[in-house]
Symmetry: C3
Subunit: 350 residues, 3 copies
């Protein structure tokens, strides 16, 4: 019995990006892109049989930028995941440590034809709690699969960084986060419902929260998905424009720049329509998304929309090529910002 | 023949910590704790047979915080160990690079029921040279086991960081450190004697040094251990209060904050009484420790004492659960600081 | 079929270094040295057969300082290499990501008896484009071996760091680099020709460029090599004095301190004569190098020369010992700086 599996993904390509703003502002970038379909990573994982249907499980996953070799996730060694847990055949699994939230685990697999990947094309552009969001210091429980249903509930004692001391008479500086959700998969039907909430006493404003719902039907020729969500009092992890992924620490949000940001009164409605169609050895992927802040917060925020089209082609079980094009209007809800991203790449899994 | 073994430990739990000071100061922390029994780590090691009883050996060990995925040891990649060496059946082993000192290798295994682990409960709370202290740039020689005896001697050209240039007419900025010791183990009896010394010409004050002696007897129902040591002119690696381990770069010492600190004239006597008792699939662990600065340095320093009780329960050979409680008075030798730490966790080895 | 190979090198020793300057300036350093023969590293690599003579290949390589455990290459996780590529039996190989340039791949193997290693002794002391120089964001194509010939061509969209946005009306901040070369090996004869060029619009001065040519003949008793090169308008990656390797981020160049530096008008001619002779289980290595700035740039720059002698002794296929001595005059082209480096070490490969 081997006690550890070494694995990874390297995803690198060539891409062109363009940002167009007001007053003739135009920024372009042409060069090597990385982690577009799947964030480049290496990791170790394992499972030990403890008897009586009980297993000890662990996963350590390290993200990196395959164009420069730098660590991703702000330089963390195991920035993608660092968990140890116990799993029981009858009662489910309990994991402790840094890991993605329930929305990122459950929603994308149902509604996003791009499967939480492809940068600006991924559902995280509009559904910020499902944007491969990770919480530190999280205890996460998930049930086993019951007739296609699975439920998960997690609590992060501090979602970002080491646990802070709470000093008498002062505010608690920890980002307390709750994540929960339900997913269903049976034959051609799949569906998910998620809810996330975080608060930080030392920052003014109400608790930021988001709920999302989505469903998909696989007609075999084509799979169709629909998603809707609502975010209040702020945003979770925002997606950078084009191939600029917030997850790599390069977010630059018009209305804030943090992984989680309180914006009291902001209310964003998010929509997604997705299509995917298998074609020979590959798959065509397409989605339309919108994040609509209405007139909440300030009246200057505009409806952000993204139109994305992709194609993946399998060279083997572990290697595929891809092409992606995505166009977003009112990126970052800003009045004039248009973001275009076009790229091709190769993804290799080991 | 495999040339490399990939291995690791993940140790994560839930804990409560409290610091109480003067004037109603109270700080608490409840959440995910990590590396309490054993620092979370992954590593690579190997041994190559060179013939004639000679082996080439290496070990690269990387520490991390399993609650956030960050690197430990101040962000070093292989912060726990980075050595290559030669080992001979007849003459012993010579290792070059970053590694723990002799006190950390020899003393804890004899006197500390908590085995150099369990944060505030570990012997490093009082015996700072045995607090899993690591020296950079060390050449370390250890004899083979002779009738139960083993001797070790190491010299660090610069104990912390890259070798500094010595410029004519200026002080030498390198932390020169010597570590040596003897240990004995035979049947129920074990004993250890260690000595460490470091100096830095560019800092005023005498050389910091510490010697420690300890012994244990295993009555099978219970193992009893006693330790005594004396530190002069400063401190080696100080232990953070509660689950706050200096080794993770989070030390906050009342009388200094560095890994090694010169405090000219300080003289601390350290004491430890330990007990451990196997119970079924587990073990009960207990110790009392005291670090007594007497009236040396300034008269304001108080006797730091720590009372600790723990329990480990083996789920398998590679996975165990644990519970720990520790209470310290005059933490950091300060007049009023009381530190309480209570936690449970799981440790998985791969 | 295994999908990943875990490998590495640890190279650690003991050495003495001395820098002597004007006005009695003298700096010395004695202690643990690391990565002298080969930079200490660990990595993962693999190749997947895609059928029809096509392979997917990847390599992730992480450099570290084996005396302290710190990451090398300025703290990058995979600072030595991070590539994914496709290789075809008939057409060659295409690799994307961070990797060494063609000069570092082709020239050292031909002309440098020290094989791109041994710090100050390596050809990078004089031929800065061949100094194990790495480019980020590079697309690199290499032909298969045709009757002993191989050709390579690479383009780095930004040679150092993430792709920068090009904003209309502003300079392009990316370091655009081209690397190309040809090598030949057949029986006792080997030869190489390389060319590198980089430019950065936002820095004044012409494009920095270097071409190098070299050849060697293996008489079996001794192998003799000759190299010549010319660098214009700046320098590529400069070598630190003694065991202080620029590659570890510790360069301190008299006329600049960056990995690539523009110095408009500078013209350096580089020369190398190398000898290596197998002796029993080992090999003797020797070279003389000179980098001559003539009267270009400023008249104060002097001819830097380095005389180096080394010896390697194989304990096994994976482990060897080495000794090295190198003496350089006018180090960093400075009027008076003499650099001496003497060391012994062990290199273990896994």
């Amino acid at each position: 019995e081997t006690s550890v599996t070494l694995y990874g993904i390297i995803d690198t390509g060539i891409g062109y990006q363009q940002l167009k703003g007001s007053d003739g502002y135009k920024a372009t970038r042409f060069g090597v892109i990385n982690g577009v379909q799947s964030g480049s990573r290496w990791g170790m994982k394992g499972s030990e049989d403890l008897g009586n249907g009980l297993h000890a499980v662990f996963q350590l996953e390290s993200g990196f930028d395959s164009s420069t070799g730098n660590s991703a996730q702000g330089g963390r060694l195991f920035g993608r995941q660092a968990t140890v847990g116990l799993a029981g055949d009858s009662w489910g699994e309990l994991d402790l440590g840094r890991q993605t939230n329930i929305a990122s685990k459950y929603l994308g697999g149902v509604i996003d034809p791009f499967g939480n990947g492809f940068a600006q094309a991924n559902l995280g552009e509009s559904f910020t709690s499902a944007n491969t969001l990770r919480y530190d210091n999280m205890i996460l429980y998930q049930t086993p699969n019951f007739s296609g249903f699975q439920f998960g509930l997690g609590y992060a004692f501090n979602a970002s960084g080491n646990q802070a001391w709470k000093i008498s008479g002062q505010n608690d500086k920890n980002n307390r986060a709750i994540t929960t959700g339900l997913r269903y998969a049976n034959g051609p039907i799949s569906a998910a419902l998620t809810y996330d909430r975080f608060d930080n006493d030392s920052i003014d404003g109400g608790a930021v929260n988001e709920w999302n719902i989505g469903a998909a039907y696989d007609f075999e020729v084509v799979k169709v998905s629909l998603g809707f969500g609502q975010t209040r009092n702020g945003l979770f992890q925002t997606q950078g424009a084009g191939f600029n992924n917030a997850d790599s620490g390069s977010a630059d949000y018009g209305v804030g720049s943090d992984a989680m940001v309180k914006l009291d009164g902001l209310k964003v409605n998010s929509y997604l329509v997705g299509l995917s169609a298998p074609i020979g050895n590959g798959k065509i992927l397409a989605s339309w998304q919108m994040a609509d802040p209405g007139s909440s917060y300030t009246g200057d925020l505009k409806k952000q929309q993204a139109y994305s089209l992709g194609y993946t082609y399998n060279l083997s079980k572990r290697t595929n090529l891809y092409a992606i094009g995505s166009y977003a209007t009112h990126q970052y809800f800003s009045d004039n910002l248009k973001s275009t991203a076009i790229g091709v790449g190769v993804r290799h899994m080991f």
